[in-house]
């Protein structure tokens, strides 16, 4: 008998194609790797489809793999309260776009309101821009802070409003 994960993977592969959805049977938690430009469509589908009905975005988290690897990832942990099933998605994309600017990925804040603040945090700390996000401002650091601290190549500024940042 197929597991719930296999069924979900099959459903998505049939709907979006093999290039857009790849099942990764990692030991601790199986997950689906989604093509970055399709993530919003996949989320919308998972949210609205009666067979899946993922009504809860448990967590949206981001990872910087560092300048050596040159990639970043965003993870989506979904849960369906009526069906009591869970699913993890991830997207992988370059740390910077072709012209060296911060990367841009689709937002899912129109699917789950939860994503609004989670994406703001990912933007604040990792510098990931979410295209078409309704209100992409920093959420934790002051608005005029420089840089994104959880990027592996981050160095803090010397001074902020005349106060030295480093311990001295």
């Amino acid at each position: 008998m197929k597991s719930a994960f296999d069924l979900l993977a099959e459903l998505l592969v049939n709907r979006f194609g093999e290039t857009a959805v790849v099942a990764e049977n990692t030991p601790l938690q199986p997950r689906l790797r989604i093509a970055t430009e399709r993530i919003a469509d996949v989320c919308q589908f998972l949210h609205e489809n009666e067979q899946t009905y993922f009504d809860l975005l448990e967590c949206l988290s981001a990872v910087d793999n560092g300048p050596g690897t040159g990639t970043m990832e965003v993870f989506y942990h979904l849960y369906s309260i009526p069906y009591e099933h869970a699913l993890a998605l991830r997207i992988v994309f370059p740390r910077n776009d072709a012209s060296g600017n911060l990367p841009e990925v689709p937002t899912v804040s129109h699917v789950w309101r939860t994503a609004d603040w989670h994406e703001r945090e990912a933007y604040d700390l990792l510098g990931i821009r979410f295209a078409a996000h309704p209100d992409l401002r920093r959420i934790l650091l002051p608005a005029d802070w420089e840089g994104h601290p959880l990027r592996k190549d981050y160095t803090e500024q010397d001074r902020y409003h005349g106060i030295s940042v480093k311990y001295e």
């Binding site: 934790l140 650091l141 002051p142 802070w145 601290p149 981050y154 803090e156 902020y160 409003h161 106060i163 030295s164 940042v165 480093k166 311990y167 001295e168």
Partner: protein
Amino acid sequence: MGLLDQKFESGGVIITQVDDLINWARLSSLWPMGFGLFPRPSPRQSDVMIVSGTVTFKMADRIKRLYEQMAEPRYVISMGSCSNCGGPYWQHGYHVVKGVDKIIPVDVYVPGCPPRPEALIGGILKLQEKIRTETLAVPKALLAMMEKQPGQVEIP
């Protein structure tokens, strides 16, 4: 204290210096200004600001503003390692001000992480000691500033 009690017992007449009276009144009625924890009277009516936690750069501007809103004479107690010097965030806490004394002058530092209640009480007693020795005749803070920068006194 005890100053007034004794005088009352010896005939109902108080003879004291204005300095002593004012200092006694001040140190016996310190009104603390807390912020962020629960509602408090306005900073304009407070005498002492107790900085009781980690000061982030986002909070720094607000703390400075609150301090400037307090009427003189005003005092600051820095409570705990975080507000004394950044505490455990001294090295990797990019967002933490490494000591509230980088923003506002501090009168008493209370060590500890967190300080024991007795330590905070000790800090308040230390502040009372400091207030007890003040005088209207010789403004010590002003003299200290003039000594530091002769000819260009800036009154904060």
